[in-house]
């Protein structure tokens, strides 16, 4: 192996030019061992520049590349793909250094400090780069193009439509026997029992009544939604509070009370709401706006402890306020309650102004949605962790907003926490499209920078088996731990906890990590 590194600094995007002395960085890089070429370019993501870099890489015969782009997460995958194809560089011999986020932004008032830090970071990255080994990925054919969608609510149906449009076979399983208008196969009164396999080749066991059958699929979309059954609480007893979706239905049917509508976050306002429940505030605000538009004489009150509307929905606060919707913040120690003297009124103390309001109402609605109790069994079957409030957890932001920690499994709509109908629809579409994207290649790739066991060192203590969130390690026939590559995500948890140091993560070995760290602090440690 040549072990010759090309260092590419993007002058413009890395923001380096404003704070850092790029020429000096290049000199430092050029003097470092193993560096075959160090260049600064403008716009490293530009097609022309890429061609220039590839030319340089070929003529200098480098076999690895260290890129300093604008930010670690945005551009690098696309860049890596380009260099992998055009300069024939192994994808595991390309890394980025985030000078912008870690150095330029925090130290922009102190260029000298920034420069020193950037140089030591660059040298550490070069040290690491020189130690990396080229790795190969393996691949496997998908046996099917099926996409299984769990739950035929708004999000699930939308996901089915989107995936079908992209040419996938969708199978929609729904626990109730409600009528579902969706393309592909719809299986009513069916639930997921268990799942085996991995992205691209899952084998699900489903249950319809007494009957159990297995189902092969390449991707799974969870659209289990929230629990729409009626909740309990003092406001339900005293004021007949109803869940918010009933208000949405009533507005749709044109039934709007003239005596006033009160929307409160929870039917039990004394309870600690932040930990246990989630709220459909977007739908609440939209309903309030619609009521005011359709029936201007109806007073609408929104009673809340904490309100959040995501993204552009925040703009609807103003629309609602302009239309005369009243927002009242209360303290859970002094919760809204039915007026003891006159049950047709709700008493609430506005915690901002300290005013006591007595509101006459025609209907009371609560905006909380309990998580779907079926999430527990879905979580166990597909091994998706749950959130504290009982929803299904998403993966890290790098994996995108619809992904779960488990590859090939996507989650959309209220399965994580309550979403408005619009957002559910949008997420359903996204999940359908992502599932189609995953399945359309027909091939699953795995391996690369993953964990590997040194059998001689393994004590078969089961620590890795218990720790891995993806259930990749198992004790094989030889009585030693083995890693199922298709499941390994290279997270390194088993490597960190293995008491016998029997597991290594390729390109993140102890030697590689400690030599890199040592180069920061200047020597052994």
């Amino acid at each position: 192996m040549k072990r010759r590194i090309q260092v590419v600094i993007c002058r413009v995007c890395s923001g380096a030019a404003n704070v850092l002395d790029v020429e000096k960085l290049l000199r430092v890089a050029n003097e470092a061992p193993y560096v075959g070429s160090a260049i600064a370019v403008n716009y490293a993501c530009n097609a022309k520049t890429i061609a220039q870099i590839v030319e340089e890489a070929k003529s200098r015969e480098v076999d690895r590349m260290l890129i300093i782009p604008c930010s670690k997460s945005d551009v690098s995958p696309a860049l890596f793909q380009a260099y992998k194809k055009k300069a024939k560089i192994n994808e595991f011999l390309m890394e980025t250094v985030d000078l912008v986020g870690e150095i330029v932004l925090p130290h922009r008032d102190n260029p000298a400090r920034a420069q020193a830090k950037a140089e030591s970071k660059l040298l550490a990255a070069i040290t690491r780069m020189a130690m990396l080994e080229p790795l190969q990925k393996s691949s496997e054919k998908m046996r099917t193009k099926n996409v299984v969608i769990i739950g035929a609510g708004v999000a699930g149906v939308e996901a089915a439509r989107q995936a079908t449009q992209a040419g996938m076979h969708t199978i929609l399983i729904e626990k109730s026997d409600k009528e579902v208008k969706a393309p592909g196969v719809v299986m009513p009164k069916t639930r997921l029992v268990s799942a085996k396999g991995h992205a691209g080749n899952f084998i699900l066991t489903i249950e319809a009544g007494e009957k159990r059958e297995t189902l092969e699929c390449a991707a799974v979309v969870i659209a289990s939604g929230g629990d729409w059954s009626d909740a309990k609480g003092p406001l339900v007893q005293a004021c007949g509070a109803k869940p918010l979706y009933r208000l949405v239905q009533e507005i749709g049917e044109g039934i709007i009370s003239r005596e006033g509508v009160v929307i409160v976050d929870t039917p039990d306002p004394k309870a600690d709401i932040t930990s246990a429940q989630d709220f459909a505030w977007e739908d609440a605000i939209q309903s309030a706006i619609e009521i005011r538009k359709k029936s201007p004489e109806t007073e609408v009150y929104l009673l809340f402890q904490e309100m959040r509307a995501l993204g552009l929905d925040e703009l609807s606060y103003r629309d609602a306020a302009d239309l005369g919707v009243r927002f009242v913040r209360y303290d859970k120690k002094r919760p809204p309650h039915a007026d003891p003297k006159d049950k047709s009124k709700i008493v609430v103390i506005d915690s901002v102004q300290g005013q006591t309001l007595s509101i006459p109402y025609g209907g009371v609605y609560y905006a909380s949605i309990a998580p779907n109790p079926d999430n527990v069994s879905i979580s166990e079957a597909l091994r998706i962790p749950m959130t504290e409030s009982g929803g299904l957890r998403r993966g890290s932001m790098q994996k995108g907003p619809i992904a779960t920690p488990r590859p090939g499994v996507l989650v959309c709509g209220s399965a994580q926490f309550p979403r408005s109908e619009n957002i559910s629809r949008l997420e359903g579409r996204a999940a359908g499209a992502l599932a189609a994207q995953l399945v359309s290649t027909g091939i699953v790739e795995f391996g690369g920078s993953v964990a590997e066991v040194t059998p001689d060192k393994c004590s078969a203590c089961l620590t890795c088996v218990r720790t891995c969130p993806f259930e990749a390690p198992f004790i094989g026939n030889a009585g030693k731990a083995e890693i199922q590559l298709q499941l390994c995500q290279g997270c390194g948890m088993c490597v960190g906890i293995c008491p016998s140091k029997a597991i290594e993560l390729h390109n993140y070995t102890d030697d590689q990590l400690s030599t890199e760290t040592a180069s920061y602090i200047g020597g052994d440690f």
Binding site: K457, T463, R466, I497, C498, P499, S500, K501, D510, F525
Partner: protein, 234 residues
């Protein structure tokens, strides 16, 4: 398995402070599995000691490795040269491993890096609980598979005592009452009659009360003749 815990760093530093060449020896058996003395812990301890030395301006030499089982002479013998070359052996095994080395190399200073805690069971990742005291006379067939000697704070034979409340022990409400658990288990098995008989005092002579215990399997022992033959082969 034998469950152990690492001693606090300060205590370890104190034990080895005056000696220069330190050899840290771990064990790949029980203490590795209970995350106390495997290769990872050995390496981490050496790093911690080096950092502390650097901070406090002390100079020592460290070497570290693990043995298959530190309580067996054959495995220890394999690192004979390294042991002889060091000033102090810091054993990261249970006390059995440490004592094996100490007995084999009486002139060497051997210090324990771990506190040997108990015979325990991994209840879940990162949590071990004691279930046996090694009394030498097992009676769990009469107690629904639950050992009252290890799991009852008083090691009672006829429990529960008056301190049992709602299934918990008065010593610490986090501990389950072993006798309550025994009652529940036998009830489940329909064998509550086992609890009607009064248990006489136990024979404690096979326990530690009889002094240091030695177990001999005559049929497994090698004869003088066999021993001589083995030596000849080696």
């Amino acid at each position: 398995m034998i469950v152990a815990e690492r001693k606090p760093l300060g205590e370890i530093v104190e034990m080895i402070a005056q000696l220069h060449k330190v050899t840290v020896i771990g064990c790949r058996s029980c203490v590795a599995i209970c995350l106390a003395g495997g290769e990872k812990e050995v390496k981490m301890l050496i790093s911690a000691l080096k950092l502390k030395n650097r901070k406090e301006g002390r100079k020592q030499e460290f070497d570290g490795f693990v043995l298959e089982r530190q309580c067996e002479k054959e495995w220890v013998k394999e690192v004979d040269d390294k042991i002889l070359a060091s000033d102090v052996i810091l054993s990261m095994s249970c006390s059995l491993g440490a004592q094996t080395i100490a007995d084999m190399y009486p002139e060497k200073v051997v210090v324990p890096g771990l506190n040997t805690a108990m015979f325990g069971v991994p209840e879940e990742q990162g949590m071990w609980s004691e279930k046996c005291l090694g009394c030498g006379d097992c009676i769990i067939h009469t107690t629904g598979g639950i050992c009252p000697i290890a799991r009852c704070a008083k090691s009672m034979l006829n429990g529960p005592c008056g301190g049992s409340s709602d299934g918990h022990c008065e010593v610490n409400l986090d501990i389950e009452c072993a006798w309550y658990a025994i009652h529940e288990r036998l009830k489940l098995q329909g064998r509550l009659d086992l609890l009607e008989a009064v248990r006489p005092p136990k024979d404690w002579t096979p326990s530690h009360s009889g002094g240091r215990r030695i177990i001999v399997r005559e049929d497994a022992k090698l004869t003088q003749h066999q021993k001589r033959g083995k030596e000849a082969v080696i």
